[in-house]
Amino acid sequence: MADRVAALSGPQGPRPRRRFSRRNIIIYGTLAVVAFYYLLPLYVMIVTSLKGMPEIRLGNIFAPPVEITFEPWVKAWAQACTGLNCDGLSRGFWNSVQITVPSVIVSILIASVNGYALANWRFRGADVFFTILIFGAFIPYQVMLYPIVIMLREIGLYGSLWGLVIVHTIFGMPILTLLFRNYFTSLPEELFKAARIDGARFWGIYFRIMLPMSLPIFVVAMILQVTGIWNDFLFGVVYTKPDTYPMTVQLNNIVNTVQGVREYNVNMAATLLTGLVPLVIYFVSGKLFVRGIAAGAVKG
């Protein structure tokens, strides 16, 4: 079935192929080897997270657990004590959601409009600002920590959720703007011109043409932002207060203890649990990862 579809609309296939054609063996063979390299650390993490600490101390990282225990997972999610609070990662979960959702939406919205304006509505000086943004992509975050505190203080948003949303928007802006600008630039210009001739304006073209034609790049932007913001520790801890700390603060507290005893199994379980949300997003958003409809739209 899939092969037949490929033959009908596929870019490369001149004829329907057998499942075990040489080409397929090469493709799937390569992917299998690559997948092994990518999955090996995951295997070690999962196996470790299912062992007890005495077994881990024996030091065979590849061996499957002699006695499977889910206790590290339960502990990581609901029991691990970090400081006074003994409710594991679950404590910061909703905070993380509350931080991530608005930050992702706002940052992608602003950056995509930036990219659209830069690609299709260039105004005098736009290139200068764009160049500054590109430069900004290279500034190490930590260096900007204190100047941003001062700025947030001046506009009265220091310590609030919206302050943090602004920070994420600012630091996501360089890469995302570049991403959208370059994508929109590569779309066929005739499309834009035709819409202008039909009388569509700035927002009309953005919502009715650019947005639906750019689903893959919105997915990439979402992958970037969800991952970055969900996993962010530094901004979450510097620009908010304990009652709004994201989940990564608990993750850091579980994983990063300096003088205390380290529980590697709980560390692994906690990391895998924290990574689940971005992973689900990757998998689900894959449905949007379709071929752009640009091809059909420009004909004629």
Binding site: R57, L84, K241, P242, V249, N256, T257, G260, V261
Partner: protein
Amino acid sequence: MIAFRTILTSTTALLAAGSAHATDLEVMHWWTSGGEAAAVAEFANAFDATGHKWIDGAIAGSGGTARPIIVSRIIGGDPMGAFQFNHGRQAEELIDAGLLRDLTGVAEAEGWKDIVNPPSLLDACTVDGKIYCAPVNIHSWQWLWLSHHAFADAGVDVPTNWDEFVAAAPALRDAGKIPLAVGGQPWQSAGAFNVLMVGIAGPDVLVRIYGDKDADLAAGPEMARVFAAAGDAREMSQGTNVQDWNQATNLVITGQAGGQIMGDWAQGEFQVAGQTAGEDYSCLPGLGINELIDTAGDAFYFPVVNDPDIAAAQDVLAATLLAPETQVAFNLKKGSLPIRGDIDLTAANDCMKKGLEILAAGNTLPATTILNTEDTNNQLNDLFVEFFNDTSITPEAAQERFVDIIANAD
């Protein structure tokens, strides 16, 4: 500085409007592992018993992670109620800028001058005669942990001092052991070197070099001996392929390594692994040569706030932290030594008891965090981690660079 003050005034004035008698006090610390969390709960319970409320702001990762948070909160005009630091020079700049509360009043009311032992701890909190921090525990670095199992395998007796240990190293090597486990992170190499320095050259040399920045002494023959010993230690540590200190400790626990120089917190790992001091492992304070310990440790500092309720709660917390019951409960769980000499720790384990005896005998020296700025300690970390991992650097060359760092330090 005036700017800081103004910010503080404006934000805390807002807070004051809604406050009641039972005050919430946000306390930031980096005690997050299981045992540490249990210890910190003792503080929190004692503080909550006074009618106030401890709001926990635990962030793991010690100084490097904590500092940007503390400084941001202060610059942002919204400081926490109290925060943990290693006492010593780390906070001197915050004190200079007038950002930290003067606790002299509490200290006098509670008689800290008489109870804090060793007195050098309180000195480390004192600037211009005023006390700015509340020390809560002592962690010492000067411990050599030895695996009985490893020495039995090598067919030699468990050494009782550094020289015997060095002499036993070839036998350990022949038995396929790493004589001395040193984890790859910079602070571990520098820490081990400082322990060697106290053991071999004695505490006075350390205090004169780090405290008085005596560059001539640093270039002298005593230090040359220390660097030669560090060369031995480097030789003995070859083959340690781990990063974390506790993985290195694990090599000692499993008998793959003969010993490790590490602070008293390593004890916890032996305990969790079900080992007994004296049977499975030994702990030698001061390398068995100079039986003394340094008094590194943790202290709480209190940012200046304009809300009188918060300030009152800060005073209560400071007094609570040093109260005898809290000290006993906290330090037993933390595995550290208490900062007052007038309390009874019968429940302590063997290695802790050794430490208590040394402390009672007054054989202490100030910690490097008290003598050096963090900048200097960081440079020393860089030097020693390079030295311990690169056999092409001779002890003499390392000493030259050491002298440079000391000569330029403040």
